[in-house]
Amino acid sequence: MGLSQDFGETSLEPSFQPDGTISLPRLMCVWAHCLVETSNCVQDQPSSQPASLPAEDISTNSNGPKQDLLFDDDPEDLFAEATEEVSLDSPERDVLLSDGPSPAITPITPPTSVITPRIGHAHDDMFTHSSFDEIEEEEGGDSFDIHISVSDPEKVGDGMNAYMAYKVTTKTSMSLFKQKDFSVKRRFSDFLGLHSKLASKYLHIGYIVPPAPEKSIVGMTKVKVGKEDQSSNEFVEKRRSALERYLMRTVKHPILLKDPDVLQFLESSELPRAVSTQALSSAGLLRMVNKAADAVNKMTIKMNESDAWFEEKQQHFENLDVQLRKLHASVESLVCHRKELSVNTAQFAKSAAMLGNSEDHTALSRALSQLAEVEEKIDQLHQDQANGDFYLFSELLGDYVRLLTAVKGVFEHRMKTWQKWQDSQMLLQKKREAEAKLQFTNKPDKLQQAKDEIKEVRNLEGKVQQGERDFEQISKTIRKEVSRFEKERVKDFKTIIVKYLESLVLTQQQVNLHFYCY
């Protein structure tokens, strides 16, 4: 297409177009065209598919030329930029609009400045950044319809080399996947591998990657050794449900869902073994060392928090963390007591049965035996209730505590980025001074070199600034997400638990009635 070719050739300053005479009007033409497209796009948003991924089937987009544009990376970016600029309804735009003169943000910009920041950026950043926005705007379109379940834990192998293989089943109607219903076998280290890949890709640009379930050397060893007892069964069950929740949380994140690693994880039958997840490996030790280094760095970075929103959020998260931990502790103790109650009820049932047996007065004996039965049933219910409490609340709270750590990590990255930005700014300053000096001394070649260096640094600084913007936007959106999820999730679970309680009480009633009729 002629359009794409033009874009391919466009450079920083339109005045340097080889084809000078027609560049500007050409660009204006394109720009006007873009605006038209954009306005169409805005109208069509509720019904169109998220448009920016090449892998996605975007044929449902109503605008013909738009399609062609999208098939090309460069115009796609341009277009995407335009899109995000014009749709002023999403609140994060306010942040962007109110911020400094970052060229990508001003609503009506000549295409030149739109293109400027694009060059020299890591393509991924822009790409995913814009696509996230689009998806957000066009949420109504491709309804989130994917359900993952982790089931059938199977012990594979023997002795210390044994591991549990879990069946991961995906049911979806999303066009992202090749099939509607498929399953693969995965082991725990695969999950950890997926998480580490996602973390390395996304954490540093500000996405909150859900944390994977923790390794438990004790637990796994018990399973490996082959103890078929209650605690190892519980451990496997706990792990299974944790893995399920982890996957669901990961795919609920629209960006992570489309990540090729995630797709590969869900679909491909063979996965390369992730060895760097072993706890005691050299990679593990390296990780620990890095963590320690990070901790030290964290203490030394003193950031000038210019955005009150972030300060408030950070405080909020600190508080939330404390609260959640407290809640978690309370629930744990509750669960513990419930288990105790079920044990005691069982014992009482037994002793009542014994009493019933030794009683020779028949009616009383029968009554006591029935009492024993009742108590046994109640015991069963209590146990189920305890499990319910545990799996719903306690795990949920634990998950969120861990999620908060991930969130904190994101904030830390932001600080690091800010630090980099500051550093590069200082560097720029120095270079400028050097350049000024050189100008005095009049050494043309060195001058040129200095100029180039300055350009580089300026680019770097721009990039870093952009990264910071990324965070702000992303963090805000994600924060909303987190809050929303919390709310919904807790609500759902609570509904379940209340329903459950109600059924428990009803059962007790029935049982009591039966007893009463003795």
Binding site: L320, L327, Q347, L355, K494, V505, N512, Y516
Partner: protein
């Protein structure tokens, strides 16, 4: 409990079956109970204050009656162990179910004791009972002379006597049966207590969780924050009602089945003691017989006398014991049945209430979900 108490020969001037302990006052270490009994003549009530020591005084008097034949065959209504305002952990453990709550179960147990004493055909003839129930002054605290019921220690000797084979099959079976039942009831009562304690712990934990949730409530205009806060408050309410439910379940347990099992257990012990006394008498009788046979003519007459006396005593005891046992069984079964029914009813009521409450909560949640 025995219903009709219109014995003309009774020394009591009050109804036995509706004696109530209406109040308990804690004064430092000592607990004072207010006992209300209805006059037979229907003209009013007696209100008296008594402490546990007074109860003990009564019991001692009952034990040491001398002119009652076959007294040893009586199954004495059991008196709960002494409780004080600041009881040590050991005493509380001993009290078991009675130590729970604000002394209500304990009061109930004392009440039952009094009712049983006052309605007992043999025991209520004792003046001490009348004095206890009607005199506004505290009964005297004079030291009662040692009686045969001091069971300070069971020497090995006594243990042997306990296993002594009986001459009468009725009593033998009774003894065996009693042994088994006592053990079972005690275990059941203990386990029941464990259950109740755990239920209380759960109630407390629910309360903590509910309070912790309240801490999560944050002020703020952010709609997400508001929603989350609202959610926390609602969940906190749910847990509050869970706590209430658990508390009342525990309470019901204590007041009905707990008391029942406890009383049963203590009553079984009392029967055991009675049977033991009888066995001791039996051993004594057999010894007397042997002595009488072996005795030299000089002492023979004396021995014979002893033997006859012992024999009479023994027969009296047996007579009384038989009656007592029959009565005991009737009373015991009825009481336990009553306890079970009451337990059932109360739990049912609580269950219904909680179902309603939980339903309400569920509706509220569903409404919020939209």
């Amino acid at each position: 409990m025995m219903e009709e108490v219109k014995e003309v020969t009774s020394a009591l001037s009050v109804h036995g079956h509706n004696i109530k302990i209406t109040d308990v006052v804690k004064d430092g270490d000592a607990l004072t109970f207010v006992i209300v009994s209805q006059k037979l003549s229907g003209t009013g009530e007696y209100h008296v204050d008594r402490t546990w020591d007074d109860f003990e005084w009564l019991q001692q008097h009952l034990f040491s009656q001398e002119d009652v034949p076959g007294l040893q065959g009586v199954i004495f209504p059991p008196l709960p162990a002494k409780a004080s305002g600041n009881a040590s952990a050991k005493i509380m453990k001993q009290l078991g179910v009675l130590g729970l709550g604000e002394w209500q179960p304990y009061c109930k147990a004392l009440e039952t004791f009094l009712q049983q004493v006052a309605t007992h055909k043999i025991l209520n003839k004792n003046k001490a009972v009348e004095v206890f129930l009607t005199s506004s002054d505290a009964p005297g605290r004079q030291k009662v002379k040692k009686n045969i019921f001091n069971r300070l220690s069971q020497a090995v000797e006594e243990m042997r006597k306990e296993g002594h084979k009986d001459v009468d099959e009725f009593f033998q079976t009774e003894r065996d049966h009693n042994l088994v039942l006592t053990g079972c009831t005690k275990t059941a009562a203990e386990k029941f207590l464990d259950m109740v304690l755990t239920e209380q712990k759960i109630a407390v934990a629910c309360g903590h969780f509910s309070a912790a949730l309240h801490l999560c409530v944050e002020p703020g205009e952010d709609p997400d924050k508001k929603a989350f806060s609202r959610l926390c408050v609602q969940i906190s309410e749910v847990f509050d009602s869970m706590k209430k439910n658990m508390t009342s379940v525990a309470e019901n347990n204590v007041n009905t089945l707990g008391l029942g099992l406890d009383l049963e257990s203590r009553y079984q012990e009392a029967e055991k003691e009675m049977l033991f006394r009888r066995t001791c008498k039996l051993v004594e009788l057999e010894n007397a017989r042997r002595n009488a046979e072996k005795a030299k003519p000089v002492k023979k007459a004396a021995m014979e006398e002893v033997k006859t006396a012992t024999q009479t005593e023994f027969q009296q005891i047996c007579g009384v014991a038989r009656q007592e046992i029959k009565q005991f069984h009737g009373v015991r079964v009825k009481m336990l049945q009553q306890a079970l029914v009451q337990w059932c009813e109360k739990q049912l009521l609580t269950a219904k209430e909680s179902t309603d409450q939980f339903n309400q909560h569920l509706q509220a949640f569903r409404g919020m979900a939209q």
